[in-house]
Symmetry: C2
Subunit: 608 residues, 2 copies
């Protein structure tokens, strides 16, 4: 039943050998891996204006040089990640690069903050997309949280079905969004060129502004660079690309960088030229669109595709999180289950974990996850800084051909990333302090887990651990609840094992009972020793465990092994199980984990 | 850890032999078993006036003859239950009486409706008590649901600790409530006698009222008789009384009847004499108290004890539900676990089930469980009618000394109960129709469960079931995940069992892997046959099960038994378990329930 439902939802399992066919071509990869980065165009320019408006509308012209700064940072990041892709063709991004060049802890800081960041990405983007949807249909506004959760479930299922299939569905909205913004920018500039727009709407570049400070400009710059979150996704996902992976990845990266640069500068320019001020109730993109087209079909087309790409931005997290988790798990820093491929060859445990945790975040923050944006931006720039510093060290150490240029690129990237990160800490400390507490805890957790795995490995390896004592003989204990066919079945099995001793144990709640039982037993199974235990507190486990301990102590002295053989009848229908005391399961679990005995269950299947 | 917490909350376990000491004396029994009945005085009179007010205030004098009718019904019920207690000294109430005299289905209808009713009692009374509390402290009003749930948890814990202990705590509020109402009625009547109250406040008895109908009067009577819910509790709980149980129970019943009669008629009389009309925002009892004392200390004392007894009324459910569940479980109509005594000798499974289900009801109805009152009243009068009809049949069949009087008493009781029940169905059908659907479903469920238990018994009994085939030999299958100490340990054990064949099974995900593994294995364990299975879909269970099926089929032909021996390492700390794939548990559960093989787990305890 359950497995049928699973098959309907995520599709029939794929063979491991079909892995290659699940890989992405460049067009699909661009859609699937860049929706996060591209969608930030919808809010990045606004973030800059929101800081500048605290001075005055005259200060808006500063958005132009700031945008140039952001473009510069973008170029540095793209060039830098281009180098990373070629240097690390098996993917891994910030975690792998930092770990290999800066050491374990730097890698773990990068990995830990990215891991949390992808969860934040999903929660924040889906909440933002839901807001856009419910703004269009105000009747749904009370159901924000449930809508957001359903969207996460939907994206999770798409990803469990496999990346190629989800890519096909997700590619359309992304390309439609790009198309919509291209038209918007094109028509906007055409109107400006044809003189349709008055040049009085904005203060000319260079107008002196009272009260402006370097601190404020840097803060605006930091806010604007939140538009760059997501550019690292491609470098993490090289193994998902069709061969040749690195080359295809670099081409996709360059295409994404170009698109991002055009859209970002276009929007900033139009916002400046149209003299648009950020409003609480309407986004900057919406204002530009209304200014350019009026509220006609094109306006709603732009708004619609924007809402869709915000939801889809979550999908970037789904491509990157499972791969990062795989890398961390392979290195034993998180649970091994993240290395396993599911029915459809995706790392399904990572996908499900991401879905569940982001739904939890959405529920905890009641769908108002905007408060998490600064946290999320910091979580991106920490690994940016680390990975580029890592590349720096790599070039210095290896000194390959043309290393000076490469060094210069990564040095620039590292410096700017570091500055942006510090800007966040200095200007928005009240919103990002949590990073300073959680990140060390996460890294500590990683170390604990690795320590455990290493210890287990040492204990299991044949070459390193002490030899096992030989088994001289076996004692079998059979707890019996009565004289039934189930017990008879178990006793027959016990006899067939040629053990040295078989003891049946009966736990009695009342003294009278005990005597009658013993007499009956001796007639029924005269050759099997019966031990009756009195339970004053109506517990079966307690007296049984005490008895087993005594036997086990004696047995281990002469290297005998103790087997507890539990008779269990299995009802025909699974709902019948609730009608029977599950004491056999309790006893089995308790003995297995708490005592050094072997536990055998002898099933007796009922026929009706 | 958990067991320590349990010990702190519900106390150290008691020996089975301490059972006698846990029993109730009359004073405690009165408090613990009659809080439901007595608390209904707080709303019963009001229910009558609420019906009469639909005609006019002049009609209020009809409350006096109606009250006489209710007192008559009360007397009939009390006398009737007195006879039941003597006739059924082991308790059981409506379920046992109906089953023995009217047949299985009548008993199950009575038992089923009472079982649901006790859950409703708890939910309704606790919600009502919570309303009273949050009316006093309006700041708490938004937290109604959580307060009600906490109160249920509190009462559940008290009952898990054992009846005597909870009786001590619960006795005070009950007696304080009785005291408070006695003072109220006494002072009220004193004021009337001394002429302090004008006799113009009410219409004299017998004043003609326009528009009155028999239907309306019967409806008022039915509503008023909701004050009688809970009188059956004592007859269910005779086994909880100190010896001699039946005599003590009857004395307690008579005392409760007397108290209930005095309080009920006192309140109805004062309400009539003071000319009090039911108000939406103030209860009738509150109005009488305000009229009598003004809003001084006594007023708040009455309101406070009323709130407390409403909460405690829930406790009646806690005394009756587990005993009824025990009786039903003993007869195999519900799961056997309800027959087991917990650490403190109470039927803890019944207590916990009652607590959990009533919390669910409170949450589902968001604390507004008043809508459930008619349902609850019907659920009481169905078993009332059945049990008294049952007594009727008993007297007719047995004809003991003085049977005519006994017959008359039960006949009256049965007739009135039946009438009241029909009144509810006729006048409040929209609120009680659910009974007609759920009750048959519950009875059907009872039968299904009994059928299952009987079938299981037949299959287990040595005398009735077919002989088991003798075991000719054993085949042991050991699934191995690698060459480790854990596997070595399991293989050593397998060898010590002198099985006829030992097969190690390795599930490989990749072809290359397979060959290497086989070569290594043959060097390591040349005497144990290794079978390698290819898994195309990355599942271990699927190929393993297929292999086991083949072996099992062959083995069963020559009466060999197949044992699957699962090597499992047990981490030192329990949190480590999440770091390891629980495939061994999955395999074990799957094989045990789905296949006819014996499953053995060989633990290897890690030391660090």
């Amino acid at each position: 039943m359950l497995s049928m439902l699973k098959r309907i939802i995520i599709g029939a399992p794929l063979k491991s050998t079909e892995l290659g066919e699940q890989k992405l071509n460049k067009k699909k990869a661009l859609a699937i891996l860049s929706s996060d980065a591209l969608s930030s165009v919808a809010y990045g320019p606004e973030q800059i204006l929101l800081v500048l408006v605290t001075i005055s509308a005259v200060a808006f012209w500063y958005s132009m040089p700031i945008a140039v700064g952001v473009l510069f940072l973008l170029t540095a990041l793209i060039l830098s990640y281009r180098q990373i892709i070629y240097a690390y063709p098996h993917g891994g991004g910030a975690y792998v690069v930092s770990k290999e060049n800066l050491g374990e802890n730097a890698g773990l800081v990068a990995g830990g903050s990215l891991l949390v960041d992808y969860i934040l990405t999903v929660a924040v983007s889906v909440s933002a997309g839901t807001d856009a949807i419910t703004s269009a249909f105000p009747g749904l506004h009370d159901h924000n949280v449930i809508i957001a959760c359903l969207l996460v479930v939907f994206i999770t299922i798409l990803n469990l079905r496999g990346i190629t299939e989800s890519a096909s569905i997700l590619a359309y909205p992304v390309y439609l969004f790009v198309l919509a913004l291209f038209i918007l920018i094109g028509v906007g500039i055409y109107k400006i060129i044809t003189g349709d727009v008055s040049s009085d709407l904005h203060a000319p570049i260079g107008t002196p502004v009272a009260g402006i400070s370097l601190f404020l400009l840097l803060r605006a710059f930091a806010s604007g660079s939140s538009a760059l979150t997501g550019v690292e996704a491609i470098s993490n996902a090289i193994p998902n690309f069709k061969e040749p992976g690195p080359r295809n990845a670099v081409r996709t990266l360059m295409a994404m960088g170009l698109l991002l640069a055009i859209l970002f500068s276009g929007i900033v320019f139009l916002a400046y030229y149209f003299g648009i001020a950020p409003k609480h109730e309407e986004t900057v993109v919406s204002q530009i669109a209304a200014e350019t087209f009026g509220r006609n079909f094109m306006y709603y087309f732009i708004q619609g595709t924007t809402a869709m790409i915000l939801v889809l931005a979550a999908n970037t997290g789904y491509s990157a999180f499972p791969l990062l988790a795989f890398n961390l798990a392979k290195d034993k820093y998180i649970a091994r289950m993240f290395t396993m491929r599911g029915d459809r060859l995706g790392y399904s445990n990572g996908i499900i974990t991401l879905g569940v945790t982001s739904i939890l975040l959405i529920i905890i923050f009641k769908g108002q996850t905007e408060q998490l944006i600064p946290l999320y931006a910091v979580g991106v720039f920490i690994p940016f800084t680390l990975s580029q510093t890592g590349m720096l060290v790599k070039w210095l150490r290896e000194k390959p051909k043309g290393w000076a240029v490469k060094l210069a690129i990564n040095l620039t990237g590292a410096l700017i990333s570091f500055l942006v990160m510090m800007m966040f800490f200095i200007t928005k400390f009240s919103q990002v302090w949590a990073v300073l507490i959680f990140l060390p805890l996460i890294v500590l957790g990683f170390h604990q887990i690795k320590k455990h795995y290493v210890a287990v490995g040492d204990q299991l390896r044949l070459t390193t651990c002490e030899p096992i004592k030989p088994i001289e003989g076996n004692v079998i204990i059979v707890p019996v609840a009565g004289m039934t066919h189930v017990v008879e079945n178990s006793l027959n099995y016990a006899k067939s094992l040629s053990a040295d001793q078989i003891i049946a144990v009966y736990v009695s709640f009342e003294r009278v009972d005990e005597k009658i039982f013993e007499d009956k037993w001796n007639k029924w199974q005269p050759d099997i020793r019966l031990v009756t235990l009195q339970s004053y507190y109506r517990s079966i486990i307690q007296p049984l465990t005490k008895f087993i301990d005594t036997v086990e102590k004696k047995a281990s002295e002469s290297n005998y092994r103790v087997t507890v053989l539990i008779p269990q009848f299995i009802p025909k229908k699974s709902w019948h199980n609730i009608l029977h005391n599950q004491s056999s399961i309790l006893i089995r679990t308790f003995l297995l984990y708490k005592r050094n005995v072997i536990v055998t269950t002898v099933p007796y299947h009922l026929k009706k």
